[in-house]
C-alpha cells in the first residue's frame, strides 16, 4: 500500500485564462486531519473539488493510494464531501438523505436502517429520522450532511468550509466534535477554511495557500511560530511585519536600532522581513526600551488590550493584559527568540506598508 492516501502532483487549474492553481504538490497521510487554509480565491476550494472529482485539473494528476484517479468521475471515488451549504436533498427526510448512498449500493433495508441510526446517534440526532431537512436548524443540517457523507465509510472526507454558516458558539462546539469524530473513526479529513483559528485548533497539518500556490505546509505550531514568509505570518494570527537589515548572524537592525535575534545564514546587510507577534512585544518604561513610541490607540479585546504604538513611521501592534493610556510615551523590547527573520518575498513590496494585521 502506498504511503500517502492522497497525492497531488503538479496540479494546476485554468479557468478560461485565469490560473486558479499553479502547480500544487501535496501529499496527505492516512488518518491525517489536513486543513487547506487561505483567503478567498486562493485556490483551496478548487483543490478540494479536484480531489472530489468535481473539477478536472488542467495539468498534473491526483493519486489515491498511489493510483491515478484524475479521470474518475465523483461517483467512482472513495471520497465523500460535506458541502459548504450542506446540499441536503430537500425532497427527502433525514433518513432518506442519509440512506441515499446506501440505497445506491443496493444494501438491504435492515442494514440501511442500522447504519443510518448508528450515524444519527454519532451526530447526536437520534429520533430525527422522519423530520424534514428543511425544518432543521443550521447546526442540525450540518450534522446530517456529515452523517450522510460518513455513512458511506469513505477513506477520505472532504469538508468545504462546513462551519461557515454557523454562529460562533456552535462553530466552536462543532470544531471539537469534528475533531473527535475524525479521531474516533480514523478517517482522513481534508478540511477547507479561511478561518486561521479553526485551522490551528483542528488540524494535524495546515496547508497555507495564496493565489493558487502553497505557501507553507506544517503543523499548527510550526505554522504559527515559524512562518516561512510574510504572507503566512500575516495570515496566521496578527503580526507586525517590518523591514529589517541583517547586520550579521543573530543581529538585525529594525528602525535603526540593533535587535539581538536567533536567526543565522543571511547575507550581510541583506534586506529582510521581520515578523514579531503582537503578544511578544513588551511595553516598558521609555528609558528601558530598545525603541520608543507613543500609544496611539487602545482597544479592549476581552483577554487583552490591543494597542497601536507609533514609532517614527511604523505602528506596532501590541497585545498586553496591562493597559497603557493613549498618549503615553513607552519603550518597546522583544526577546531574541520572538523575532522571526524571513527572506523578502519576490513579489512583496506592498507588505512593508503599515501592517495592522488581520481579523
Amino acid at each position: 500500500m502506498a504511503e500517502h492516501i492522497i497525492e497531488l502532483r503538479n496540479v494546476s487549474k485554468d479557468y478560461e485564462g485565469t490560473e486558479a492553481l499553479k502547480g500544487i504538490d501535496l501529499k496527505i497521510h492516512k488518518n491525517e486531519f489536513v486543513t487547506l487554509l487561505g483567503p478567498s480565491g486562493c485556490g483551496k476550494t478548487t483543490t478540494l473539488r479536484i480531489i472530489g472529482g468535481f473539477e478536472q485539473p488542467t495539468t498534473g494528476e491526483v493519486l489515491f493510494e498511489g493510483v491515478n484517479i484524475s479521470e474518475l468521475p465523483p461517483y467512482k471515488r472513495r471520497v465523500n464531501t460535506v458541502f459548504q451549504r450542506y446540499a441536503l436533498f430537500p425532497h427527502m427526510d433525514v433518513y432518506e438523505n442519509i440512506a441515499f448512498g446506501l440505497r445506491i449500493k443496493k444494501l438491504d433495508e435492515a442494514t440501511i436502517e442500522q447504519k443510518v441510526s448508528r450515524m444519527l446517534s454519532l451526530v447526536n440526532l437520534s429520533g430525527y429520522e422522519r423530520r424534514s431537512v428543511t425544518s432543521l436548524s443550521g447546526g442540525q443540517q450540518q450534522r446530517i450532511a456529515i452523517a450522510r457523507a460518513l455513512v458511506n465509510e469513505p477513506e477520505v472526507l472532504l469538508l468545504d468550509e462546513p462551519l461557515g454558516a454557523l454562529d460562533l458558539k456552535l462553530r466552536k462546539e462543532m470544531q471539537i466534535e469534528l475533531k473527535n469524530m475524525q479521531q474516533a473513526l480514523g478517517i482522513t479529513f481534508i478540511y477547507v477554511t479561511h478561518d486561521q483559528e479553526e485551522a490551528l485548533t483542528m488540524s494535524d497539518t495546515v496547508v497555507v495557500m495564496s493565489e493558487g500556490e502553497i505557501q507553507q505546509i506544517g503543523s499548527p505550531v510550526d505554522i504559527y511560530n515559524e512562518p516561512e514568509n510574510a504572507f503566512v505570518a500575516d495570515f496566521i494570527g496578527e503580526s507586525n511585519i517590518i523591514d529589517g537589515i541583517m547586520l550579521r548572524d543573530e543581529l538585525v537592525i529594525i528602525q535603526g536600532k540593533e535587535f539581538p535575534c536567533v536567526d543565522k545564514g543571511f547575507a550581510k546587510d541583506e534586506l529582510v522581513d521581520v515578523v514579531i507577534r503582537p503578544e511578544d512585544i513588551k511595553l516598558v518604561p521609555e528609558s528601558e526600551g530598545i525603541l520608543t513610541g507613543v500609544v496611539e490607540s487602545v482597544i479592549f479585546k476581552g483577554v487583552h488590550y490591543e494597542m497601536l504604538v507609533k514609532c517614527e513611521d511604523y505602528h506596532w501592534m501590541v497585545h498586553s493584559t496591562l493597559m497603557e493610556a493613549e498618549g503615553t510615551r513607552v519603550g518597546l523590547t522583544v526577546l531574541p527568540n520572538d523575532i522571526h527573520i524571513m527572506h523578502k518575498m519576490r513579489t512583496s513590496t506592498a507588505s512593508q506598508e503599515v501592517e495592522v494585521g488581520h481579523e
Binding site: G52, G53, F54, P73, P74, Y75, V79, N80, T81, F83, Q84, R85, A87, L88, F89, P90, H91, F100, G101, I104, K105, S132, T134, R148, A149, N152
Partner: protein, 274 residues
Amino acid sequence: MKRNWALTPYLIWMIIFIVVPLALVVYYGITVNTDSGVAFSLSNFKRFAEPIYLRVLWRSIKLAIISTIICLIIGYPVAMILAGNSFKHKNVMVMLLVVPMWMNFLLRTYAWLTLLEKNGIINSILGKFGLPMLNILYTESAVILGMVYNFLPFMILPIYSVMSKMDYSLIEAAEDLGANSLIVFRRVIFPLSLPGVVSGITMVFMPAVTTFVISRLLGGGQFTLIGNLIEQQFLYVGDWNFGSTMSLIMMVIILISMLFMNKADGPERSGGLW
C-alpha cells in the same frame, strides 16, 4: 391588517369583473327561459348528458391530454438543456421560445393552414423529394399539432424556471454519494423539477381543453370541441343558458384537475407558477 382602504379599488374591480360575471354565468346556467319568464331549472345539465355532447366533452379532454403529454415529452428535455450549465446561448434560446407568443394567436394558428394545405409549403417540399403527401389538415392530428405548437412554451418555461433555480450542489452531492447520471436524474433532478412539471401541465391543459380557435381553423368544422360548442351557443344559437351550463361544467372539470395536480405536487414544495 392596517390600511385596508388601499385594497378597496382592487376589491371593487374584482367584484365588478370577476364576482358579478361569475354569478351571472351561474344564474344563466341554472335557469331557463320559459313563456312565463325565467325559471329555475337543471334541464340544461340533463341536456349536456346526452351522448352527442358527452362525446364532444370526451374529445376535448382527450385531445387536451394528448397535447399536454406531447408538450411534456418535447418540453422537458428542452427545459433541462436550457437550464444546464454547459449551454452558452440560453438567453437567446429562451427569447426565441417567447417571441412567437408576441405574435397574434389567431395569426400563428392560421399560418399552419397554409403550411398544411394540400398544396401548401410542407406538401410541396415533400413532393419535391418524392415523399408521400401529408394530409392531416382538418383531422385530430392537425388540432393536436396546433395545440402543441401554441402551448409548448407554457410547458417549457415553468420547468426551465424551476430547473435553473435548482441548487447545482445537490447534483454534485448526489454524484459524490455514488449516483451516476441516471440515478441523479431519477432521484434528484426529476423529483425537484416536479413543481415546474405540474405548472406546465396545468398551463397547457387548461387552454387546450377550452380552445375553440385551433379546432375551428385546423379541424375544419368537423372537430367540434367544447370550446366551439360554448361559442356556438353564445354567438350563433343565442342560448346563453345552455352555454353557461357548459361553461360551469368546464370550470368544475378544470377545478378538479387543478386540485388533483396540486395534490401530486405535494404540500411543501413551491417554485412553480401556481
